[in-house]
């Protein structure tokens, strides 16, 4: 209770009567560490690095295929390296995270209207998931046979 009668005469330095000094809190460069929602956002954005990684890895694979069986065998040997396997696993998890967040956010950017009303977002996101599972299943079947 620092504003009672007794303090009426004292003033903080930098204060001019009738010119209240607004306090402007400083936003730290680590703003995203303080909160889970912000951290999730940064991880989502970082997942684009994992996507880029897979694109480059695929390009290397295609290039190796183009050069011939020796080059491709060398490429497969690199992929068996435990460190490379680890990077692939982590990147795969990031890509799954990327995909799920993308599918969940897309309906709010492109609302679908039917019968005069906006469809619920879960309903609009559902076909993407279904397509993902189906296409993945088909690709798996082709590759593993």
């Amino acid at each position: 209770m620092s504003m009672m009668n007794e303090d009426a005469g004292k003033s903080a330095p930098g204060y001019t009567p009738f010119h209240p000094r607004w306090y402007r809190p400083h936003v730290s460069v680590y703003w995203w560490l303080g909160e889970w929602h912000y951290l999730k956002f940064i991880l989502r954005e970082l997942s684009s690095v994992a996507v880029a990684f897979f694109v480059i890895e695929t390009l290397f694979m295609l290039s190796a295929l183009h050069e011939g069986p020796e080059a491709y065998a060398h490429f497969q040997a690199v992929l068996r390296n435990p460190l490379v396997v680890l990077i692939n696993i982590i990147s795969f998890l990031f890509v799954v995270f990327h995909t799920i967040t993308w599918f969940n956010l897309a309906p709010s950017a492109m609302p679908v209207r039917m019968g005069g009303k906006k469809l619920p977002e879960a309903l609009v996101a559902a076909p993407s998931y279904v397509a993902w599972v189906v296409i993945s299943a088909i690709v798996c079947w082709i590759v593993l046979h």
């Binding site: 009672m4 009668n5 009426a8 009738f18 209240p20």
Partner: protein
Amino acid sequence: MEASSHDVLMVGGGGAGLRAAIAAAEVNPKLSIAVISKVYPMRSHTVSAEGGAAGVAKPDDSLDEHAYDTISGGDWLSDQDAVEAFVREAPQELLQLEHWGCPWNREPDGHIAVRAFGGMKKRRTWFAADKTGFHMLHTLFQTSLKYQPITRYDEWFVTRLLVDDGRVQGVVAIELMSGKIQTILAKAIILCTGGCGRVFPFTTNAAIKSGDGMALAYRAGSPLKDMEFVQYHPTGLPFTGILITEAARAEGGYMLNKDGYRYLQDYNLGTPEPKPVLRCMELGPRDRLSQAFIKEHEKGRTIETPHGHVVHLDLRHLGEKLINTRLPFVRELCLKYQNIDPVTELVPVRPVVHYMMGGVSTDINGATPLRGLLAAGEVACVSINGANRLGSNSLPECLVFGARAGKTAAEYASEQKPASAAVLAQALDEEKRLEAQYLHKVGGRERVATIRGEMQATMERSVGIYRDEPLLQEGTAKLRELRERYADINLDDRSRTFNTELESALELGFMLDVAESMMQCALHRTESRGAHQRLDYPNRDDERFLAHSLVYRNADGTSRVEYMPVTITRWPPGERVYGQGKEHGEAVAAKRIR
């Protein structure tokens, strides 16, 4: 002291204030127009109005019918010339708002949809889901942004009107942000500060409804009119006073006592039907419903809760789909503030103070007897609402009389001389008073909240739904005591920056003046009419009291009450009747009811 100057100044930035500002700007864009408000305009209490705004819109309806419903609903205390102007201009104003973008609900063919509302014989209430006031206020606020001549003083608190030479010439106001006390001169001032529900303990009104404009006018010598007429809304949540809109009853809700019985059928409001019938049962006028609650309470048929006695509002039979489309806000309010789901549970409700029919006395153009001073909206009493307001009339009232006052003020201001020097001296006196009585005061033992609580309890007891002479006399004495104790107030907060304790203390001062005026008007009106019910004078007395109470402030702080006859044009006083099968046509001659 700094002084700025404008042609027209609106005190209050809600529905009436913003509409008046736009009207003045359209009459003459060269005028300097200012809106001063103690809160940002979108916080004004207009924002909380839910149900709708009435305006004759459909071919099966007529202006005369809207006028008749309003006049009979007002128990014949409404000035009929004002009502006729009001019903004629209301649809145009609502249409103007539509042109400005207001998202009114629509019929499938794209035309404006209207719904039933309590006390109205035909469907004529325009609505925007159940947030009509919110949409209207935001439309007005956003539209007002495009008018260059309008300056806004946001979060400035007006403490006094400056009067000289029989004319209002400006205001003294505190800029809350910095604490600076400044003079704002104006050639015409329109009070748009709303009602004074906060003089009561249970009210739907927001914290800001402290009757500021009423007290400012009263202190400046302009009379207040019909202050004894306080409208209770029959369905407010206990504890918070949050309003459960009349629309819940218009859509088909039932009101049940502790035995699950639709008790309104015992009070001359018709017989219960499964679907709502206009002007019957739950769609009867508000004052009759609130009175029925008190009577049920006396019979011991209300339900006791930790926050007082309640009855139940039953919406369960309406179904989840209808509630989510037509009453989404009602459901949200019940869930978020009282943890109750109206789809599956009974909602506890009780009458809460909602609206002031009385206010600053004005004529049909919003002008008060004090030159240069006008008023519009709930703060004013024209009077169109008479002794009891019908639901969905107050939003168009803000628009119609806000526009009229804006135009009148603009025309008046164009012809006035600038302010006199005497007024600036008064302003300096006001600054000294504020410093001596509040900011630099030494000693003082009373807290703002204590006096305010006692005032509210006194008002509930003496100026409640039912009144009588002993309680009114007791209330008068108590208010006198509170005014003396108010002089002994001590503020914790002596800071200049955003001093809300000072603001509360000034508002309490306004409320004490307004409470005094209400008490005196209630004491002197020895009849029962509309919302003013005297246990010792239970009948309506048209011979002596077909007149408005006018209360003036005396120099010593007491008041005197005079009477002014009601303007009757085409509808001689009849009996207010509701329910099916009764003729509510006009009485041929004024029926004396004793």
